[in-house]
Point group: C2
Chain length 371, copies 2
């Protein structure tokens, strides 16, 4: 194998969803990956995707997913298919020896995800989901501050939202509100981020109990279009804190992507945690030891803004780069192991999605995690 | 009665709690009020309060609440007593012909509050609770924007917090965590603001149902020290919106005072809604029609910051001025009616406090408001 082929992981995109445009760009931006092929169920749609996005004429165009998976030059796939199709096509990809980068939610439930993970694991293939924000340098910076016990102290409370005011066309046609395509609706599409943020802030400790709030709204298909949930850690974490979290996700309210983490000694706050307002830099606010001044007529400290540059690669480029780094390592270094971190993050997030779903189905009853 | 006496409402402060220092200053700052007397259960404590706060030597010092209420020169009282004492002393004040400005929570339940309101009403006396933030010009400005349907659109979601990291001494000694003094704990002290903010944002429409979340924490006295609640408006308001609200209040997490209101077309956000970070000006953020740019690599708009000056009087001074304006009107203008707005605001807020308390007592069952 020539050295350039080894250095650059060759991606195939399975499914030409809108989000694939962003990831196609990211694959070409990341230095260790290259877009090798795209596939749609129709060759015309795949061709249009290639021309609309100015893809290199050398990118192969396939009119079926199978053809792409049979291409021996494809090392890894990026898969932005409707959630209900994930288990079939991701397992198929793994059986054909392709590493799997898959859009969130990873599957309809953790049972399906385990089928995918098992297929990847047994074929020695890396798995990662498409949570881009985890790869942003701002996220790395926040985590450093979060786990510096001299700063925030014990995490007491986490709050996160993901809302978007969807159009009538969205409610009519989008796969994310169709019971037969993406039956998790706002829970899978938006809740994935907020539940993932809670786990992230708790260093991937699982909670004790998850309870859907009574404000859940479903459409005529029974798909969740708006909901909130309470996530409780009743056993203290290694930092000694019990933590409560609340998330709110909705297709019915204007755009918000809030994340607030409040500890015993400080708090951290941002309003664009999933998609930063600007691509080249992002910020968050940090308040430490806020008290009121004498007579309670003001605060002793004001929130401080921390700005983090992101000018080498956008977050989705960093995601692709990290995935390709692991994949290249496995392909070129004998005995190199899969990175278990990424499937573990996906699996725990999917477990929380399942728990909220179960709580909704039970009429907002608490759902406990067994220890 | 001399004209200066008519122009300035003469206040008596009943109880020398810490918050009384702030309101004593506000009474002296407001142009239409003057501090006439202070009372504590001990004359020494009242004297110390006067000297510690540099009160004018003409301010009368009383060693009992009864003595102050018997002073015919006192027009109105400000009452920062433990909540369990409100009904007794506020009714007593009304019976002695004093207008009543009382600290929040107004009473242990709406039954007690109604006793107070009835005593004020039947004696022709104005009632107001000590929610200072309602009087800030920022609050007025936000309300203008909130009820301009071209801006936020229908209000879909409200989120509000009031948290403070209380010291071990607070948990040991403060009246706000003592079952026999302030049995509403964090619900009365902090929840009053958040529930009040929800009502404010909904133009004082009562919700359909209130549900405490399972994250409630109580101390050994059974007093709530941390809780969250879901407030649902399932019937559309006049603007056509059904609205969900979530509040979180805690003595266990670092200082926060967040208020976010998300409509169908925009959102409004501030992090110091109860006590502004600075006394002389305050701000909030406003985002209108936020969408993602092509490829979802950023936002089309950034939050806009609106700064509102508050340089004539601080918010507590504006509160005293408004209360004294109504009182002076009643005293000087024959046939002038009480302003029903302020008791109504207090009563609805207390109803929501009661509903959360009932939900907590029922193990987080939903509590419905009858229409």
């Amino acid at each position: 194998m020539a050295e350039t082929e080894v250095a650059q992981v060759r991606f195939g995109i399975v499914g030409c969803a809108n989000i694939a445009r962003k990831v196609a760009r990211a694959i070409n931006l990341a230095p260790n990956s290259i877009l090798h092929a795209v596939a749609s169920r129709s060759i015309d749609k795949a061709k249009r995707f290639a021309s609309d996005n100015g893809l290199d004429p050398r990118v192969k165009i396939y009119g079926s997913y199978d053809q792409l998976l049979d291409d021996p030059s494809v090392d890894a796939v990026y898969m932005p298919l409707p959630t209900s199709l994930h288990v079939h096509w991701a397992v198929m990809a793994a059986q054909k020896g392709k590493h799997v980068l898959i859009e969130k939610p990873t599957a309809l439930d953790v049972g399906e995800l385990d089928t995918i993970l098992e297929a990847c694991q047994s074929n020695g293939l890396q798995f990662m989901d498409g949570s881009m924000w985890l790869h942003h340098p701002r996220t790395v910076k926040m985590k450093e501050m979060l786990f510096d016990s001299k700063l925030l102290g014990n995490v007491n409370y986490i709050y996160s939202t993901s809302t978007t005011s969807a159009s009538p066309e969205f409610f009519e046609n989008d796969i994310r509100v169709k019971g037969n395509l993406d039956s998790l609706g706002a829970l899978g599409d938006l809740g994935w981020y907020c539940l993932g943020a809670v786990l992230w802030a708790k260093n991937y400790q699982l909670p004790t109990v998850v309870t859907a709030l009574p404000d859940v709204t479903t459409n005529s298909d029974g798909v969740i279009i708006s909901f909130s949930a309470s996530i409780q850690y009743t056993e203290p974490s290694s930092s000694g804190a019990t933590t409560n979290a609340i998330i709110h996700c909705s297709f019915l309210a204007d755009t918000s992507m809030d994340l607030t983490i409040t500890g015993s000694k400080g708090s951290l706050n941002l309003n664009d945690f999933i998609i930063p307002q600007r691509e080249s830099s992002a910020s968050f606010e940090f308040t430490l030891g806020a008290k009121f001044v004498d007579l309670h007529i003001g605060w002793n400290v004001k929130p401080e803004r921390v700005v983090v540059n992101c000018d080498e690669l956008p977050q989705e480029g960093l995601m692709v780069e990290e995935f390709a780094r692991v994949v290249a390592g496995i392909r070129t270094t004998p005995g190199m192991l899969l990175d278990p971190k990424w499937p573990e993050i996906s699996r725990k997030t999917q477990m929380l999605v399942d728990a909220v779903k179960k709580s909704v189905d039970l009429g907002c009853k608490p759902v406990y995690f067994l220890k």
